[in-house]
């Protein structure tokens, strides 16, 4: 009766920075070479460990941005104003630098083709990162010449950012939707919309979810990632709208913003 999986330890590996790509003023994508990387699923994350010259170490978790098909592992990191690790990763690292990571980690907030669709992704800020891995995985694993396969896995992303220049992967998302009518991306900007902005300009709410998402009767696979207040509102509202809680998978980060 006892299910005992002979688990192999997730080893620390040495990652070499191949490139540092600016995404927005506050975020960078680290393209990494990780010898021995065992592969991952879209939505998983890694632990990063930095060591100072006196041996002091700090660990943090970062979502993987690249799809399993890519040769290079990509992490997109948001610089937190009072962060301990993210300022180093986003401002100090240069190509050729090395640091330790281990992974992949997490077996629940993941999506692959057999998970099916429709796929409804809801992200806030850098919560887009694991969702982008899913979008990229869908794009690179479905043959470009097979529109039927894409139609069977229609995907919508509702993405909340503070401002237009803080939209991570903005150009890539636009290019993907331009070539693939079965992928729809809807932005909402919570603070400073650019002149002439006709899109949503508010936090994600019930009306927006009802308008952008699939009805619960279509049983979409839902992934929500972002700051806790956004995830709480989105997940609760989707359940109110009739979605099965088991189909709504969440990943949260950041402080609660609450009194405690």
């Amino acid at each position: 009766m006892t299910a005992r999986v002979a688990a192999t330890r997730i080893e620390w590996r040495l990652a070499t920075v191949l490139d540092v790509v600016p995404e927005t003023p506050g975020t960078r994508t680290l393209l990494l070479d990780v010898p021995g990387w065992p592969g991952h699923r879209a939505g998983q994350h890694v632990d990063v460990r930095l060591t100072a010259d006196d041996g002091y170490q700090a660990e943090r978790s970062y979502s993987i941005a690249s799809p399993p098909e890519d040769e290079k592992l990509a992490l997109t990191v948001e610089r937190l104003v009072d962060g301990e690790v993210s300022p180093y990763l986003t401002e100090e690292l240069h190509p050729g630098d090395k640091f330790e990571l281990r992974g992949p980690i997490g077996g629940y907030f993941v999506w692959d083709l057999p998970s099916g669709g429709p796929l409804f992704l809801v992200g806030g800020g850098s919560g887009i990162v694991p969702l982008m891995a899913m979008i990229r995985h869908r794009d690179s694993s479905l043959a470009a010449g097979d529109p039927d396969a894409r139609k069977k896995l229609p995907t919508r992303l509702l993405y909340s950012s503070r401002a237009w220049d803080e939209v991570i992967y903005r150009d890539e998302l636009a290019a993907l939707t331009a070539k693939d009518p079965t992928l729809e991306v809807v932005h909402t900007l919570t603070r400073n919309p650019p002149a002439g902005w006709t899109g949503f300009h508010r936090r994600i709410d019930r009306a927006m979810l009802a308008e952008v998402g699939w009805p619960a009767s279509d049983t979409p696979r839902v992934f929500v990632c972002g700051p806790t207040p956004l995830v709480e509102v989105v997940a609760s509202t989707l359940v109110d709208l009739g979605h099965q809680p088991a189909l709504v998978k969440t990943e949260r980060f950041g402080p609660t913003g609450g009194p405690t």
């Binding site: 999986v5 997730i10 660990e59 949260r252 609450g258």
Partner: protein, 206 residues
């Protein structure tokens, strides 16, 4: 083998804090929220807690019955596998020892392992020996207020000496098992036991 990160200073903890931090953890003053799905909301009028023996015998408490049991207040450090630790968190609840005594008086036998089951279907496994002798509680107050739903209210398991995913939010049942069986995260790559001081984060960590 471990590379030095040129220019990385990090944020050194004061002496006292450093000694309270398990390896790989950092102190936060916030109380981050982590859960795999939507926050369940069960009305207290239908809420109950069940202790269930391997033979199916069970003891059940309604909300009013549970909170009428002798309460304990504890102040403990908590450690989340996602790396944050929070010092000096204050909780109020019912010791698992108290529940087990009351349950055994009703003929409910314990066993070596416990599966906690929550609203929403979450499960986590903990050895009985880690819940008894003042090491585990069903907590319903945090600070001096009712535990908020996003933090596991109305009641969560509190096992502060293990990584915090073992402290199941929205707990409704403790089921005693003769054999250890992995729960939700334990089946998805996380460590079966989860001792922060041995940094048992993931399956395969020693």
């Amino acid at each position: 083998m471990t590379p030095i990160s040129r220019g990385f200073r990090g944020r050194r903890q004061p002496e006292g804090a450093a000694a309270r931090l398990p390896p790989g953890q950092y102190e936060t003053r916030d109380f981050p929220v982590l859960s795999a799905g939507p926050t369940p909301r069960t009305p207290l009028s239908v809420w109950d807690l069940t202790l269930r023996a391997p033979d199916g015998q069970s003891a059940r408490w309604t909300w009013d019955e549970l909170v009428a049991l002798p309460r304990e207040k504890v102040t403990v450090d908590i450690h989340c596998v996602t790396k944050w630790s929070k010092f000096g968190t204050s909780w109020e609840g019912i010791a698992i020892d108290t529940l087990i005594s009351a349950a055994s008086a009703r003929g409910v036998k314990t066993a070596s392992y416990v599966m906690a089951r929550s609203d929403g279907g979450y499960t986590t496994n903990v050895p009985l020996a880690d819940l008894t002798n003042g090491q585990g509680w069903i907590a319903f107050n945090y600070g001096d207020a009712a535990l908020p739903p996003e933090h596991g209210g109305p009641a969560r398991l509190l096992v502060p000496h293990l990584y915090f995913w073992k402290s199941a939010k929205w707990v409704r049942e403790l089921r005693f098992m003769e054999n250890d069986t992995p729960g939700f995260w334990e089946s998805l790559g996380y460590h079966n036991y989860g001792d922060p001081w041995r940094e048992q984060r993931y399956a395969g960590d020693e």
